[in-house]
Symmetry: none
Subunit: 273 residues, 2 copies
DNA sequence: CAAAAAATGAGGAATATGCCACACAATTGA
DNA sequence: TCAATTGTGTGGCATATTCCTCATTTTTTG
């Protein structure tokens, strides 16, 4: 943000000069400001950027469309954390993910032991659990999830060992798998890159191996996947439908996928956004 | 948020009934809502909680005092990420810590295996290592350290398993210790709450146990402590000076501490800020 | 170069918010 | 029990924000 702000200052338009920032530049400025400050006032932005409040309001509306900011009454707030570069992925399908997260969170009862796989959707679930659930134990290999859950002191969070993935923020590897296999859990909740008639797949073989281990290890395996993942194919199929007890999604599957689910006896839960 | 609203609705006070929520309950509600939604409108809160807008505004003011929320024009947003509140501690003694971190980073050679304990000072060391070192393996139980190191792709970061500490951002417990004991490392680098003639101590017994395990397990144990820790006493002594090979600090120790160090044969390295 | 499209600004009405002072109810403490 | 403290609601008023329309400027396009 610092590198952007001065640039913006240099170009700051005295109206007479007419060298005001382009729309794109304003948008960038807003985003970068938001990484520094949790919230912004539209009126301040208008003053700093030297444009009318109406223009800023239009900017904010557009940025909100793209889920790049959160609109507040007089301004904007950052959409999520600043965390790794998951921000992009986490910003899409918010409504769907929140709906699915709500459904899953309602399934969880006190004193359960959960395994939670890494992922944008499972992160939503973790946040939801942190505000809803109590007296549960969660085993995870994703640190953002661990941190999200830990805000609730009645949730015991156990982290897996393993090699730290630099961009994804989770651990993986043989140690992780071995650790997962040493637990008994009531439920495993995992996501996927895509789901097809063959089962759930993931673009990362290491992550997939972990999700698969969780699913096998828990008494009940829940897969969460929005409709954008229907019929997507990725590197490895980490679980077949016979290994998955429930699929939580946001739209009724159709075609070969639906057939495979029915044949495997996987229960389908459709969350309404 | 949808499933929460009804709960609130159940209790929603028609004024006549007088069964409105207590202030504490409102505050909890606000916080919990904020974990689900990024921002809240004061007016909506007033409606849902069945109190006047003025009361909500007072609530928000108090919560802001406690840094539990961020105020926005018409409501509130969540304060920061989920991050621990390490920021404060990390902000002091910057110069000293940087100097000590630099000294330690220079000790590390390629292909070494390090153990790095949690802490503000070790975090500085991790950052320094990330920019200086290459082709090393680091074992740590602190996630901020893992993330800091991981920006350098030539550093292999291994994380320990264990129970996640909600405010400190590291894992602890028997699993953590067992995991540490399964490794062989060239060096362990740990910090402490205080150091005295008896040895290094820590205010957190769990953290201390981990530091102690690391120090014992590694071929060389390095303790890093600024002069503010001299002669401080805390809960548990996790390592005696005979277990520590080197003390990296920013000022020459004196008195009983110096005597103990000399008798134990601990090498003292003074970093100049 | 001219027309079309997009972006911006200005003004005004309607609505929201913030702030302040004061009254009243609920709780606490002596 | 009474007084003090705390919590809450109300009303007024200044200020902010939003939404809308329309004129103007800038950019794009043929």
């Amino acid at each position: 943000m610092t590198s952007d702000a001065p640039a913006a200052a240099d170009k700051r338009p005295r109206k007479a000069d007419g060298d005001r920032l382009s729309k794109l530049a304003r948008h960038k400025h807003i985003i970068s400001q938001l990484t520094a400050a949790p919230t912004l006032r539209a009126s301040e932005l208008a003053a700093v950027l030297g444009v009318s409040g109406e223009t800023i309001r239009r900017d904010l509306m557009e940025l909100q469309e793209q889920k790049l900011i959160n609109r507040t009454y007089g301004g904007a707030s950052r959409p999520f954390a600043l965390e790794p570069a998951l921000t992009d992925r986490k910003a899409i399908m918010i409504a769907e993910r929140e709906a699915m997260a709500a459904v899953i969170a309602d399934l969880i009862l006190p004193n359960e032991v959960l395994m939670l796989g890494a992922g944008a959707t499972t992160f939503h679930i973790a946040r939801r659990l942190a505000s809803r659930a109590h007296d549960i134990t969660v085993i995870t290999h994703d640190y953002a999830i661990a941190a999200a859950l830990a805000v609730n002191p009645s949730i015991r969070v156990l982290c897996c060992p393993g090699r730290y993935h630099p961009t994804e923020g989770y651990v993986f590897g043989t140690q992780t798998i071995a650790n997962i296999n040493s637990y008994e859990a009531n439920r495993a909740i995992v996501s996927a890159t895509g789901i097809s008639a063959r089962g759930a797949n993931d673009a990362d073989d290491e992550a997939g191996a972990i999700y698969g281990a969780m699913a096998k290890r828990a008494a009940e395996a829940i897969l969460v996947a929005d409709h954008g993942k229907f019929d997507q194919r990725a590197l490895t199929v980490f679980a077949h439908w016979t290994d998955i007890d429930r699929l939580v999604t946001d739209r009724q599957p159709e075609g070969a996928l639906a057939t495979a689910l029915r044949e495997a006896g996987t229960e389908i839960i459709v969350a309404q956004p």
